[in-house]
Symmetry: C2
Subunit: 230 residues, 2 copies
């Protein structure tokens, strides 16, 4: 029943290991330089403050990379973009340009303003985590999006109690007519980006997904980039 | 941006109001009498302990009722059935008979053993909550599944930090080819049931969904029943 060799931490806010994400915040409290392009290095995460009215552009530099993305209310991290609530508001599985992104309190925290990609993203799959890699046969630590989220927040002095369902940008998880799903490589191209406009003061966390065992990142995890625009 | 007239509580473990659920636990600590059939009254919730190896049968008494269902690890409520993890394990949107139900720690907490209904359930939509009803135009308190979960746990002396995505039994949310969704009445019939076998010591929480504004309960919220079998 249990997964061998993995300690199960019963406070889900704690990372189960660490990587350079913890030591490389973009600034002490996550405040960005407006207009500066930052890199989320391959297999790592970053957290950035985006004030109400500002827009964050997230760019799929190489086109083949999934970016797990979370949006938290900067004042109360217990409120966050929640896809089980967002889907109910949109009557869609995947948001499209022009759609509001709703929190677990059913308020719009941001709007997906622009999407230059074909719009193939995922909202159904949890962030990869150490348990996932253990189940896939990995021995020892493997970078993972859940820990990257926790470490990116910790690097700017913040902590979230849970790891919400991420907005898995460019992740290609088709739902077939029998409601089975597949895990495929992205269909986006190099330089595709999304613009997300904050409607509250937010903390946006991104993880350049380190999944290298199944083909969602074309088996070659790479960096992505982001810029906060006034 | 904000929803008027609703206080936003920043500890998601607290109910935003209350109903009889708080005062009607099946027993002081949720331990059931084996083989006894209990009612979840219309618009209310109940929590029950199901030990590893026991099976809970949840019955759609009238056939038209959605039952929001949660399964928690009885020893650590921070571990629970999580559909964003379960979907990734099953490669399916909706579990079917024979499928394990995975936690946020990617362990099987239970198995969906039997399903006498056509298998139309939902795993995509958050429990209804007070914010939902306010957005739908309801003034004042409206019974809701999120509070029913919190109150049912409180009634047996327990508390969960968040309201996880429920297993929305018999809820009919078709996903169309363009990934839009609809909200329809159940296709189950009176007396349909699911048997769920616990693989850990669990607390199962059920809410007879009080949604009476959109047709997911055929606009007539009714009771459901459950029995714990040895």
């Amino acid at each position: 029943m249990s997964t061998p060799h993995v300690e199960h931490h019963h406070d889900n806010s704690h990372a189960l290991g660490e990587n350079a994400t913890l030591r490389e915040p973009i600034s002490a409290d996550g405040t960005p330089e407006i207009g500066k392009t930052y890199t989320v290095p391959a297999r790592n995460g970053r957290a950035v403050r985006v004030k109400s009215g500002q827009t964050i552009r997230i760019t799929n530099t190489h086109g083949t990379q999934v970016c797990d993305t979370w949006i938290f209310n900067a004042d109360h991290l217990d409120e966050f973009l929640s896809f089980e609530h967002a889907r109910a508001s949109l009557d869609k599985v995947i948001p499209q340009a022009g759609d509001p992104l709703m929190t677990n309190h059913r308020r719009p925290i941001a709007e997906l303003v622009t999407d230059t990609s074909p719009g193939v993203h995922d909202t159904l799959m949890a962030a990869c985590d150490l348990y996932r890699y253990k189940n896939l046969g990995v021995a020892g630590y493997h970078d993972n999006c859940a820990d990257n989220m926790r470490l990116a927040l910790k690097a700017i002095g913040m902590r979230a109690r849970e790891v919400p369902q991420p907005f898995n940008l460019w992740m290609n998880i088709p739902i077939k007519p029998d409601y089975s799903i597949e895990w495929l490589a992205p269909v986006s191209k190099a330089g595709d980006y999304v613009d997300i406009k904050a409607l509250m003061d937010c903390v946006v966390v991104m993880s350049a997904c380190p999944q290298d065992i199944i083909p969602i990142n074309a088996l070659n995890p790479l960096e992505v980039e982001f810029t906060v625009l006034a």
